[in-house]
């Protein structure tokens, strides 16, 4: 498929865009600019099914996929309908591995489905990665449907901070047997059609739903990652297009942003920039989204191969309806070569034990101690502490050395069940902590990025967290989901390498 064709498909497929004739009600997908019943005089209206729920009309298990879907293996393709609108589209069921025997497809007819932003197929002759939302998961499964209700932001301007967040963890997991590896007992991994870009969009979607914020108000977006889908081509642009960030104009959007890279702190260090921007008078907008997303890479058999996870967390910063104010920030940096990957290399390398004391501990503890001093807070003033979690052992040890208790760090140790999300590590843990926070709680978070540096923040939770709580998909729920599915190492390795 050529680049121009791909661009035209993006406009239609990312959000399942259609048009409806306002006179006769005929729906067109792909969208038509006029209705064949009404001719050129048609009054057409745009439709968008990105946040809608549908139902399976008829399905089949494709046991022998076409070449482009070989990586995916057997899967369900089907015709899906949006009953409220009376229109149908072709699509695929994702996050589902069909059994080898015949499936009772009749029992699936009418089952509720939720559109998901996924790869159509991995790789193609043109080198482009093609995405769409014509992929669905069952509504009563791992990914329930959420309404996207937009609430106009309050007129009251507050201290800047977090106005909404969303954490996306994939459904598939792999176990580390016994007591795990450095406290990591199970980990998330991408499905065949997932990658850093799809994680980013899904997390951003949840953040918008949680904030109940009109996406046109988000005019800047940063995506921090160390497993970018392309060496050159921004994930941010895909996120802006899929989530419609900023005012729409000629199929583009008035928003900006970049992808950033600083190992595992590529996203967190931009939280302060986001908060600063919303205070900057020349910034045309009031909300900034920061996403930390990774399909964390590790060479097969490397110790890291037993701790890496996959997923993303998105945070929206603003000055209205803030759920946690950003009170303090500082960062500490040194040129420490503990973990690195050159262009063209598939997996990162690291300095083994050198990544510990002179790298992780030195930066995390220096930044944390400086933060306590700067904020004039003692460890006991903090309700929850979050440290970057390459595993479950490092952050606990660092917490104790900085004067915190095991109880203060325990809710942030999501790494034990989801693995190290690299750029998404601290963000996902911050999400887990906010899930259980009460107004007035103080949170100290120190991220770490190899190479090396730490950024440290203090947040104070506000009353607004209570009214937004029902719109979260809590991290713990995702960790404990009865629909999660365990896979073996061979499957895990295949998923890691095709993404």
């Amino acid at each position: 498929m050529s680049e121009p064709i791909t661009r035209r498909k993006i406009i239609v497929d990312y959000r399942i865009n259609a048009t409806v004739c306002q006179d006769c009600g005929t729906i067109y997908f792909p969208p038509k600019s006029f209705c064949y019943n009404e001719g050129r005089a048609s009054r057409m209206e745009d439709l968008d099914f990105f946040y809608k729920k549908g139902a399976l009309y008829s399905g089949t298990v494709i046991n022998t996929p076409s070449n482009k879907f070989k990586d995916l293996g057997a899967h369900i393709s089907g015709i899906f309908e949006f009953p409220d609108h009376g229109f149908k589209i072709p699509g695929r069921i994702t996050d589902y591995i069909p059994p080898e025997d015949s499936v009772d497809l009749s029992s699936l007819v009418g089952k509720e489905v939720v559109p998901r932003f996924r790869r159509n197929y991995s790789g193609s002759e043109d080198g482009l990665v093609h995405y769409s939302s014509l992929n669905f998961s069952f509504g009563d499964e791992y990914y329930p449907h959420q309404e996207y209700v937009k609430i106009e932001p309050s007129k009251e301007v507050e201290k800047p901070g977090i106005v909404g967040y969303g954490v996306y963890l994939p459904k598939y997991r792999i176990k580390n047997e016994g007591r795990g590896v450095l406290g990591v007992t199970e980990r998330t991994l991408p499905f065949a059609d997932e990658d850093t870009t799809t994680f980013s969009v899904e997390a951003g979607k949840r953040a918008l739903i949680h904030a109940a914020l009109d996406s046109t108000y988000v005019t800047k977006c940063f995506v921090g990652t160390e497993s970018p889908t392309y060496a050159v081509k921004p994930i941010m642009a895909t996120v802006a297009q899929a989530l419609e960030l900023g005012e729409k104009f000629e199929h583009g959007y008035f928003s900006g942003g970049i992808d950033s890279q600083f190992a595992c702190k590529a996203a967190t260090d931009l939280y302060v920039d986001a908060a600063a921007l919303v205070n900057y008078p020349a910034f045309e907008g009031e909300h900034v989204m920061v996403i930390g997303s990774d399909n964390s890479q590790a060479a097969p058999g490397d110790p890291l191969d037993y701790t890496v996870g996959a997923g993303a967390a998105a945070f929206i910063f603003g000055r209205r309806d803030v759920i946690a104010t950003l009170d303090h920030y500082l960062a500490y940096t040194s040129d420490t070569p503990d973990f690195y990957r050159r262009e063209g290399e598939k997996y990162p390398r690291h300095g083994g034990r050198f990544t510990g004391t002179p790298a992780y501990y030195k930066h995390v503890l220096t930044a944390t101690k400086a933060m306590l001093k700067k904020s004039e807070l003692a460890p006991e003033d903090i309700n929850y502490v979050i440290f970057h979690s390459p595993n479950a052992s490092f952050p606990q040890r660092a917490a104790l050395q900085a004067g915190f208790t095991r109880e203060q760090i325990a809710p942030a140790l999501t790494v034990a069940k989801i693995g190290n999300l690299y750029s998404g590590s601290c963000p996902a843990a911050l999400g887990a902590v906010l899930d259980i926070s009460e107004p007035g709680d103080k949170i100290l978070m120190t991220a770490y990025g190899s190479g090396a540096g730490s950024d440290s923040y203090v947040f104070t939770v506000t009353d607004k967290i209570v009214e937004k709580k029902e719109r979260t998909v809590p991290v713990q729920e995702q960790i404990d989901s009865p629909h999660k599915e365990y896979v073996d190492y061979v499957f895990y390795r295949k998923m890691k390498d095709i993404n």
């Binding site: 498909k9 497929d13 997908f29 792909p30 009309y57 008829s58 399905g59 089949t60 298990v61 494709i62 046991n63 022998t64 996929p65 076409s66 070449n67 482009k68 879907f69 995916l72 899967h75 393709s77 089907g78 015709i79 899906f80 229109f87 149908k88 589209i89 072709p90 699509g91 695929r92 069909p98 015949s102 499936v103 497809l105 009749s106 007819v109 159509n120 197929y121 093609h130 769409s132 014509l134 992929n135």
Partner: protein, 411 residues
């Protein structure tokens, strides 16, 4: 039966040729087309010369793509050795039927007296890429959704089972019977790709390709070509004493994307083309004793027996199941309804004879041509009286196009 005082023929077939269908690894597509073309020219009873051909209409689905060629009429002029008007039609599996349609149209218009209509495909040249190539005949969103071509018919079959089968095992049996019956019909066909019997259990046990479609519900990947000499009814008598007249030639189209159709359990293009063709021939479906019905997948034959009006909507599976019960010892197994019976796909259809996509619509006419002339050998349909009419139904994609032709022996 075509009424003597009813509609008059619009054209006639006076010659027909074809190659064997199968995996013909050593033949290039041009060779196949030339072979079928020569055979059909040589088959004309009173003889004809290649130079008597005034125009050529032929169908192919994948030739341009597989061989990375354009300007196909020019290449075909080289093969024919004639600098006559040549038109290629591409209509997926109905490329052949569309070529016949255009040839009839050209003769009926009076522009030409005698034309050649052909179709060919060389699917084995694409080996492992053919599953992807066949999706050219589908909506791009269907490809992006991970569909394969069997998969598209599988969602139709799946919905048919849901709406009409309602868990009845006899419905699944009927869908296997179609395959078993067509393989049985092919046993006497020397050109067929698969002259091999499969019982209903074997079909139902075969590997799942796109659940609920199994391997033996599918027609094969085939190479082959077929060709016809089509002329005006007046000219036909100069070329043979036993022409096969064309009484109806119709084509209808529909949206390619299944999701845009009102339902998945029938094909509108079949209903439109079939209705128009029967009207044109002044006939009722129950008067057709022999029919070539597009059976790329067995669910198609079931649905088209309903779309044609032979069985009521949702009831073909019952009719097919009942028809099959007492076939022991018969060369052909007819489908029976309350008023009539019809032999469907007497030479094995796409299922067993083979389905070189662009050739199929022409091959169907080859089959009824020899049936109506009583030249079908071990495949000859036995009839109480003279076999006097037959029908060819050819579908492209999942019903994006349909051609129907009705033939008779009497003028």
């Amino acid at each position: 039966m075509v009424q003597k005082d009813g509609p008059k023929p619009i054209a006639a077939v006076v010659g027909a040729g074809r190659t064997k269908f199968g995996e013909l690894w050593y033949d290039n597509p041009e060779k196949l087309l030339v072979e079928a073309g020569l055979e059909c020219i040589e088959s004309v009873d009173k003889g004809m010369s290649r130079k008597d051909i005034e125009a050529c209409f032929f169908g192919s689905f994948l030739y341009q793509h597989t061989n990375k060629r354009g300007l196909i009429p020019g290449y075909m002029a080289q093969e024919l050795g004639l600098n006559i008007p040549i038109t290629m039609t591409e209509a997926a599996c109905a490329s052949g039927g569309a070529a016949v349609y255009n040839a009839v149209l050209a003769v009926k218009s009076g522009k030409f007296d005698t034309v050649i209509a052909g179709g060919f495909e060389k699917m084995s040249d694409r080996v492992d890429k053919i599953m992807d190539d066949l999706m050219f005949a589908a909506d791009p969103h269907e490809f992006d959704a991970g569909f394969t071509f069997p998969g598209l018919y599988a969602v139709m079959m799946s919905r048919y089972l849901y709406d009409y089968g309602k868990g009845d095992e006899q419905c699944l049996d009927a869908l296997a019977i179609v395959a078993s019956k067509n393989h049985h019909h092919a046993m006497g066909n020397p050109y067929a790709q698969y002259r091999r019997e499969f019982n209903v259990d074997a079909v139902k046990r075969s590997a799942l390709v796109a659940d609920p479609i199994r391997l033996l519900h599918c027609s094969p990947i085939s190479d082959g070509a077929a060709s016809l000499i089509i002329t005006s009814p007046e000219k036909a008598r100069e070329m043979t004493d036993t022409p096969v007249y064309i009484y109806a030639s119709q084509q209808a189209t529909d949206n390619v994307a299944l999701s845009t159709r009102v339902n998945l359990t029938g094909v509108k293009a079949t209903r439109l083309a079939m209705g128009a063709a029967l009207d044109q021939a002044g006939m009722n479906i129950s008067e057709i004793p022999v029919a070539e019905v597009h059976d790329c997948f067995t669910i198609e034959e079931v649905m088209y027996m309903e779309d044609s009006g032979f069985y009521k909507t949702g009831e073909a599976w019952k009719g097919i199941f009942d028809s099959y019960k007492d076939y022991e010892g018969l060369r052909h197994i007819p489908y029976v309804n309350k008023k009539a019976e019809v032999i469907v796909n007497p030479g094995g259809g796409l299922k067993a004879d083979g389905h070189p996509v662009g050739a199929t619509g022409v091959r169907q006419v080859f089959e009824v041509y020899r049936q109506l002339r009583g030249e079908a050998g071990d495949c000859q349909v036995e009839s109480d009286g003279d076999l006097n009419s037959a029908l060819c139904h050819n579908i492209g994609g999942t019903g994006g196009i349909c051609t129907v032709h009705i033939f008779g022996r009497d003028a």
